[in-house]
């Protein structure tokens, strides 16, 4: 026997309220974190902060230019490595979805997406740091590139899958060779989607600390050499946040604010790009 309709309706309403409660409560921690970082960080940021290296303990002032430049260089180099490889792999996966190689590499993309970033760091250490004999920005870029790959590949693949076959067929029927069809028709048509994957992957890796711990290491001076240790925003936050000095904490709050802004902007750009393409990343 089912209970009376009044009770059942009441249960239904109760359930809905509980669901709504839980669904919205989870935004509270996020809002608290964001507001706190903004509140602590925004007062730190000024021109001096953006153009100077960190000051030694006990001295006022100091900035994060070394980390800003370092993050840009390392993420830039990582992008230069990951984007061509990722795009080509994505094109391959979308053009030949039924081959054995496509199956296994698709599987590897999924696996790579789940590999903990600290493991990527260890591996980059043995692949680049050990052979070169020194911690270097290049090894950091290498680790970041490995983390970027799956996102670039998946977004390229999914965007290209959305393109109608007739586009490709029209170009082929005009006698255009296959490789030119890919370069001149397929890639330009899916450009916004691929670009959104690139911005998203940059947003993901710009805040990665774990892979940089034993690769780029960190550097309290401004360095632009790829073969030397280099500072990065997340690594600077880590070192200074876990230090016992208030001045350094303030520096880390400022750096967190800057990092957060980068991540937010990159995510908004991604959102705007994907809105046009309706791809799920």
């Amino acid at each position: 026997m089912e209970p009376r309709i009044g009770i059942r309706n009441f249960k239904s309403v109760l359930f809905k309220s509980v669901i709504i409660f839980f669904a919205f409560v989870i935004t509270i921690p996020l809002i608290i974190v964001l507001l706190y970082i903004i509140k602590q960080g925004i007062t730190q940021v000024n021109w001096h902060f953006l153009t100077h290296v960190p000051a030694p303990v006990g001295e006022a002032g100091g900035g994060i230019i070394n980390a800003l430049v370092g993050s840009f260089i390392m993420v830039g180099v990582a992008a230069i490595i990951a984007i061509p490889v990722g795009m080509m792999a994505g094109i391959y996966l979308s053009e030949n979805p039924r081959t054995k190689l496509a199956y296994y590499s698709g599987l590897c993309v999924d696996i790579l997406q789940g590999v903990p970033s600290i493991v990527v760091g260890i591996v980059a250490y043995f692949w680049v740091v050990k052979p070169l004999g020194t911690f270097s920005a290049l090894s950091g870029s290498m680790a970041l590139a490995i983390m970027m790959l799956p996102i670039v590949i998946r977004s390229t693949e999914q965007t290209l899958n959305l393109l109608p076959d007739s586009l490709k067929e029209a170009a082929l029927s005009l006698g255009v060779p296959y490789h030119r069809v890919i370069i001149k028709v397929i890639v330009p048509c899916g450009f916004a989607g691929i670009l959104s994957g690139i911005t998203l992957s940059i947003a993901r890796v710009i805040g990665e600390t774990a892979p940089l711990l034993f690769t780029a290491l960190g550097n309290s001076y401004l360095s632009v050499s790829l073969t030397k240790p280099m500072e990065s925003l997340p690594h600077l936050i880590f070192t200074y946040a876990t230090s016992p000095y208030d001045d350094w904490h303030n520096l880390a709050w400022g750096a967190s604010f800057i990092l957060l802004m980068f991540v937010l902007i990159l995510n908004i750009v991604t959102k705007l790009l994907t809105r046009k393409w309706k791809i799920q990343l």
Partner: protein, 279 residues
């Protein structure tokens, strides 16, 4: 270029195995159950880190499940369209976008002082940092992974099924409980698995909040509220200080375990997802 990917995965696996060979050889499987981690005297046991990792991950998972299910049901069934739904969905995605180092930093300065008085009331040493604190932050961080999958899956429930149940006089709650949830059960489970995979490998936020002690407490209360270490956090902390081969390879073996576990979890998760979404 696709072969590059296969090479990377195989390369990662081989590198980890080769580099952890010294400890695999000398310590064997017993390494995983060894209770003492004392690099100075060359004694290595991964048990404290296994416990730390499992405890943080599953506590975080347990906290996160009600939220991720609620979000999935709300955005999948009650309110799939409109500005409020978009806003909430973007906010959830933002949770995943914020770098873990920022959660960790915030946790040290805001959450830790908040946790301390509670620990005093419970009669445990008020470290503030520890397994419990790390789990709370971790729970927030992993919600988006299960939730975004859950939303997609619940939206895919065919409406004739739901309409049939409504036609029989079911209330909304009954439709969700008897039709929507059973229909999406495996998929939602896969989402939880993906969240778990994230939780196991999460490094920075946990490293900053767990307290980093390799000794393990005696009572459950001590372990749960006291400082500890996870596999990822011990690697992050000690890898650059490790000065002899055996120490390094013991740490890498932790990495190997972590890699294998996350690979298996993600593999099963993705398998279920492809199966569920292709039908």
């Amino acid at each position: 270029m696709s072969t590059v990917l296969v090479l990377i995965i195989v390369g990662v696996f081989i590198t980890l195995i080769v580099q952890s060979m010294p400890t695999i050889k000398t310590l064997g499987v017993g390494y995983l159950w060894g209770k003492v981690w004392d690099p100075v005297n060359n004694i290595y046991g991964a048990y404290p880190f296994l416990i730390g990792t499992l405890l943080t991950s599953f506590t975080a998972l347990a906290i996160s499940i009600p939220f991720s299910y609620a979000i999935s049901i709300y955005l999948g069934e009650y309110n799939p369209k409109g500005w409020l739904s978009d806003l909430l969905k973007n906010t959830i995605e933002l949770i995943a976008a914020v770098p873990s180092i920022i959660y960790g930093f915030w946790g040290i300065f805001v959450l830790v002082p908040l946790v301390r008085p509670w620990e005093l009331k419970l009669g445990v040493a008020p470290y503030g940092v520890g397994v419990f604190t790390a789990s709370i932050v971790l729970a927030v961080m992993i919600i988006p992974y299960a939730a975004s999958l859950g939303i997609t899956l619940i939206r895919m429930v065919p409406s004739p099924l739901k309409e049939g149940a409504y036609a029989l006089g079911a209330t909304r709650f009954e439709v969700i409980r008897r039709v929507v949830l059973p229909f999406t059960r495996t998929g939602l489970f896969a989402g939880v698995l993906l969240s778990l995979g994230r939780a196991l490998g999460e490094t920075m936020a946990v490293t900053m909040l767990i307290g980093n002690t390799s000794a393990i407490g005696n009572t459950f209360k001590d372990i749960f509220f006291g400082p500890g270490n996870t596999m990822a956090s011990v690697i992050a902390n000690e890898f650059s200080e490790a000065d002899h081969t055996e120490y390094v390879s013991a740490l890498i073996e932790l990495g190997l375990v972590l890699f294998c576990v996350t690979v298996v979890i993600n593999f099963i998760g993705k398998r279920i997802i492809t199966k569920v979404t292709n039908k």
